[in-house]
């Protein structure tokens, strides 16, 4: 039972193969190029080095954000197209859930990004609420809160955790943006 793990939410693309939930091979992009030029070639490398054909993949776990909008869309598009065409199960986990294994008794998990922070409220070792806070508002928000920053990911246990999540129909596997976009009605003159 081979699981393909796809994470494109951050600066580095991470792809991995798990066999029976055990990490077999993990590859990360080294160059800081566009994810679009990196992700599929890296997947081909991963498969070749694992001596697997894409048809040997039995299920998919994809990180659907929050993070880089374009980055997440690349991973999600590849993942949902794979799941649909190969007709295999697909599950989504969030970028914050990648760090759940490392928390102790904190109330909030925080991920830093360019202009702000993605925040996950934790209850019973689960994230129950997500929000985005701008850098300028973070210090006052964080005052007197028991928080932990997402730092190191424990890849070994990742798929055991992900497999507890429900399978999703590939058609509704979509990015989880959290951050709102501002659309002004008329910017142009």
């Amino acid at each position: 039972m081979n699981t393909l793990f796809i994470d494109t939410h951050g600066e580095v693309v991470v792809l991995a193969i798990y066999t029976d939930e055990k990490l077999m091979k993990k590859k990360e992009s080294k160059e800081r190029k566009d994810h679009s030029t990196i992700c599929m070639p890296l997947l081909v490398e991963l498969l070749t080095e694992s001596k697997l054909d894409i048809k040997d993949i039995n299920d998919i776990v994809v990180v659907n954000g929050p993070g880089s909008f374009t980055g997440v869309r690349i991973g999600v598009t590849i993942a949902k197209t794979l799941a649909f065409t190969l007709n295999i199960p697909i599950r989504m986990i969030t970028s914050l859930e990648l760090y759940l294994d490392t928390i102790q008794n904190q109330e909030y998990l925080v991920l830093n990004e360019k202009n702000g922070y993605y925040i996950g409220k934790i209850e019973n070792k689960q994230i129950i609420e997500y929000e985005y806070i701008k850098t300028s508002e973070f210090d006052s928000w964080a005052l007197n809160k028991n928080i932990v920053f997402g730092d190191k990911i424990n890849y070994e246990n990742l798929i055991v955790f992900a497999h507890q999540k429900e399978e999703t129909n590939p058609h509704v596997v979509n990015p989880f943006y959290v951050k709102k976009i501002e659309v002004e009605n008329d910017k142009r003159s």
């Binding site: 679009s36 030029t37 869309r73 590849i78 649909f84």
Partner: protein, 342 residues
């Protein structure tokens, strides 16, 4: 006899998620177009981030629908083609990554297609393009007059030096208070009016380049000035005058090309070629010069993946395949594309 070639094509460069299966570069076996126009109309134009999001949401649904309409199997597909330029980066990327994935899963070659070439090759669907031919590409991103010498040899006679004609239609429509997309709305309004506003002819020079920003500014200023003076703007008349002036300029350059090149074939391509006034006047002009004129069915004038499947066919035969490092490009000089694909 050559084996039939079926190409699965993907187009996500702007606000339509589209896929098609095209046989031998001309027979449309299956076509799906999911348009986002209604969503973007709320904002008065295409919002790139929303467009990218909607492509991601609908990409596998459009794929499923396209495969369902196709009578054959995935094994009957010979290649996967995708628009890689020009267009909105985030939108293009959704189509590109889906295309790469299909190429990997089904072990089929990947073909990168220029969107503008797609508009031109849409002319192959109902007629065979006869070479040499003049081609006028008019859309939201392009205003180009070309000579197609053969399937693989082209020359650009002229292009817009500022705004594309489609852009100017959208801007003028907005100033006249019409919803997005502007082009079809100007056309509708123009039918009710007369060409009574004296508007400046865009370019006096006798070359093949176009310029529309002067005309655009003139109309915008006119509307503002009339409003300030509390004068009534006859919207239908102004729409008619603007449409006539802009399209007559296209026709003037095409006529010049007929005279200078003596080419007896003419094709029209791109979203603006859905404009009825342009189609009718071009037909009259071609009749006058005994030029054979073809324009795609309106369905194939606006953005669709069938045209991408058509344009991919000569690339398939020339074995011009792409690898998985293929990236999106927001703009690509069509001259460079022509050079590279010689």
């Amino acid at each position: 006899m050559n084996k039939d070639v079926n190409i699965l094509a993907i187009e996500t460069s702007c606000d339509e998620t589209s896929m098609a299966i095209v046989k031998n570069g001309k027979e449309v076996k299956s076509l799906t177009i999911a348009t986002q126009i209604k969503t973007h109309a709320n904002f008065g134009g295409v919002v790139p981030e929303i467009a990218s999001r909607m492509h991601t949401e609908s990409i596998t649904l459009v794929l499923e629908e396209t495969l369902k309409k196709f009578s054959g199997k995935m094994e009957d597909i010979d290649a996967i083609a995708v628009t890689y330029a020009p267009g909105l980066l985030g939108s293009l990327l959704v189509g590109i990554e889906c295309a790469k994935t299909l190429s990997l899963v089904y072990n089929k070659p990947l073909i990168a297609v220029n969107h503008t070439m797609g508009h031109i090759y849409a002319n192959n669907i109902e007629h065979d393009i006869t070479y040499p031919t003049l081609a006028l590409v008019v859309s939201g991103g392009h205003t180009d007059l070309l000579i197609l010498k053969s399937e693989s040899e082209m020359e650009i006679l002229g292009s817009t030096i500022d705004d594309s004609i489609g852009e100017v239609f959208d801007k003028v429509a907005r100033v006249l208070g019409m919803p997005y997309p502007g082009g079809p709305n100007i056309e509708k309004e123009a039918l009710k009016g007369q060409n009574t506003y004296q508007l400046p002819t865009p370019m006096k020079e006798e070359n093949f380049n176009f310029s529309f920003s002067g005309l655009k500014s003139y109309v915008i200023n006119l509307v503002h000035n009339e409003k300030q003076r509390n004068h009534e703007i006859r919207i239908s008349d102004l729409a008619n005058s603007f449409q006539t002036t802009a399209i007559d300029e296209l026709l003037r350059k095409v006529e010049l090309a007929f005279k200078k090149t003596g080419i007896k074939n003419m094709i029209l391509a791109g979203g603006v070629s859905a404009n009825k006034y342009l189609r009718e006047e071009m037909q009259k002009l071609c009749d006058k010069y005994q030029v054979t004129f073809h324009v795609p069915n309106i369905l194939y004038c606006t953005d669709n993946a069938a045209m991408i499947g058509c344009a991919a066919y000569p690339l398939f035969r020339a074995k011009k395949f792409s690898d998985f490092t293929l990236n999106a490009k927001s703009s690509e000089n069509i001259k460079k594309y022509i050079e590279e694909n010689k």
